[in-house]
């Protein structure tokens, strides 16, 4: 087993976990908001917004990385502003890898959350209203807990997918060892090296195992929460 997790593998694994965790933390609140807007509001341009949210699903990841580079790169509109006012640097950093991962997994998360929100019985929210609960109170005490299975499923799936994001990360954040070289990037690098066959195999097995564990965890968690919620 020691042979499986050498320093290079551990570094890539740690980085992947770090990037995936950060991307989930960043995108989760926004995904809940987007799911809410898509499910509960009607406004002109809603269909366009819906398409925009789902865009990363169909775009080549490299294109997403390129757009991010244009926007958030050192000379990009937003990137320059962030660096000047908040001192945040995104291009070629771990945070940047997390941003690219978050954008790519965003549609997955929104879909899961949206599905659970659509299943929340509006009648329960009406009941809460008659009991004196104002809108935000109602959301926190009724809607959000009832959406929890979907939120958790979305978060875990996005996390598992985020461990393996390749195209957007390598385009936007590059392939810097110890900074942005996550599992798939390390795997790709190993494949390019004439002596990297064994490393590549180990990294591939590791990715495969992680993905499987992630999906299993999501399923079990959702079942557990459903029981707790009384369904």
């Amino acid at each position: 087993m020691n042979a499986l997790l050498g320093p290079a593998e551990l570094e890539a694994l740690g980085l992947s976990l770090n990037v995936a965790a950060r991307s989930v933390c960043f995108s989760l609140p926004l995904a809940v908001l987007a799911a809410w807007v898509l499910t509960r509001t009607r406004f002109p341009g809603r269909t366009l917004f819906d398409a925009f949210v789902h865009l990363p699903l169909v775009l080549p990841p490299v294109a997403v990385g390129y757009v991010l580079l244009v926007l958030f790169g050192a000379r990009g509109v937003l990137g320059a502003w962030l660096q000047r006012h908040l001192g945040i640097e995104l291009a070629f950093t771990t945070a940047g890898a997390a941003l690219a991962t978050a954008v790519m997994s965003f549609p997955l998360m929104v879909r899961a959350i949206r599905l659970s929100l659509e299943n929340v019985d509006r009648g329960l929210e009406d009941a809460a209203r008659t009991l004196g609960a104002a809108p935000f109170d109602r959301f926190l005490s009724i809607t959000l807990p009832l959406m929890l299975p979907g939120i958790l499923a979305g978060a875990v799936t996005a996390f598992a997918a985020g461990l393996g994001e390749f195209g957007a990360v390598i385009t936007f954040a590059s392939n810097v060892p110890g900074v942005t070289r996550t599992l798939p990037l390390a795997l790709y690098t190993a494949m390019q090296s004439p002596t990297g066959d064994a490393l590549a195999l180990r990294l591939a097995v590791l990715s495969f195992t992680l993905g499987l564990l992630g999906l299993l965890a999501a399923e079990l968690l959702v079942r557990r929460v459903r029981t707790l919620l009384g369904r």
Binding site: L124, A128, T130, G132, D137, I142, P145
Partner: protein, 369 residues
Amino acid sequence: MLRVSVLWRRPGFNLEATFAAPTPGVIALFGPSGSGKTTLVNMIAGLVAPDSGEIRLGEELLTDTRAGIAVAVERRRIGYVFQDARLFPHLSITANLRYGEKRARGVPRFIDFDEVVALLGLEALLARRPRQLSGGERQRVALGRALLAQPRLLLLDEPLASIDVARREEVLPYLERLRDRLAIPMVYVSHQFEEVLRLATHMVLLESGRVVAEGSVSAMSLRPELQRVVGPDLVGAVLDGVVKRLDPANGSAELAIGTGTLQVSLQGVPLGTRVRLQVLARDVILAIQPVQGLSVRNALAGTVTTITKDEWGALVTMDVGGAAVLARITDNALTALRLRPGDAAWTLFKAVSTRGHAFRLAGAPQGGN
């Protein structure tokens, strides 16, 4: 007073309802399915906005489309017990009950947690989850939850509709207790006449989105509009009286109604209890001479007020000492007796025919419990 005057138009359905009902008391919104009862209570709750009109509880305007007033649902302080209970599945029964109570800070309180638990018999349910409860238990919890929000008005939308007929007794007696012990006005939606008989003090009859009649339950029982809705078998005068004498050996009691007394089958009620009695028109016999040697316990002298002919024969309204009694007779009987309005006649009905049609209205005035 609860005053409602609303207009709501949708393709295929128009609601155009106006009524004014006294509070406190139980106002029954009665009518066939699809007559607009639920839409109307949703408007009172504020969950549905009328196209135009106003809703006023006491002095306060809740909705006034002309003045642009629409008090938010969460600020109306109107409790709502839905047909399907709508308990929060992720919360325990205690947390469900406390939900509205927590949000009723700074509101005048008339009932606390322990009183609600005792009143509705919820003690054994508190630690459970909604999915572990029977339909009747759920409705009792929903009632308690609504009450603890300290509402000024309680709306009940067919609270028994989703419960098996045999299990309705798990809820009905509790509703009677609420009516008798709390001064909170209630609007009770139903299409079951028996529930209305047992609970209501005022009745609003809806048909295809319109209020066709309203008034006290006794007055309404004489209206042809109501008779048409309840059907020929349930037509009968409703009389409110007081228990004057008990005959436990006989299983019967004497009720003072109007200026006269009636013998009815009734057990387990103390003297002085107010009782509501329905005398089914088809159980009543009319005689134009005093009769003797019959087992009938009630033979009351009175005067014919009106005679209505319909497809089932004739419905005769008798004035018996200030109370009205309906009698259903055939056309042949009407011809044979030659009855006309103003004629004197005897109204006969058996004490046992009132069994199951007499309901206790409120606890004994002595306030035994």
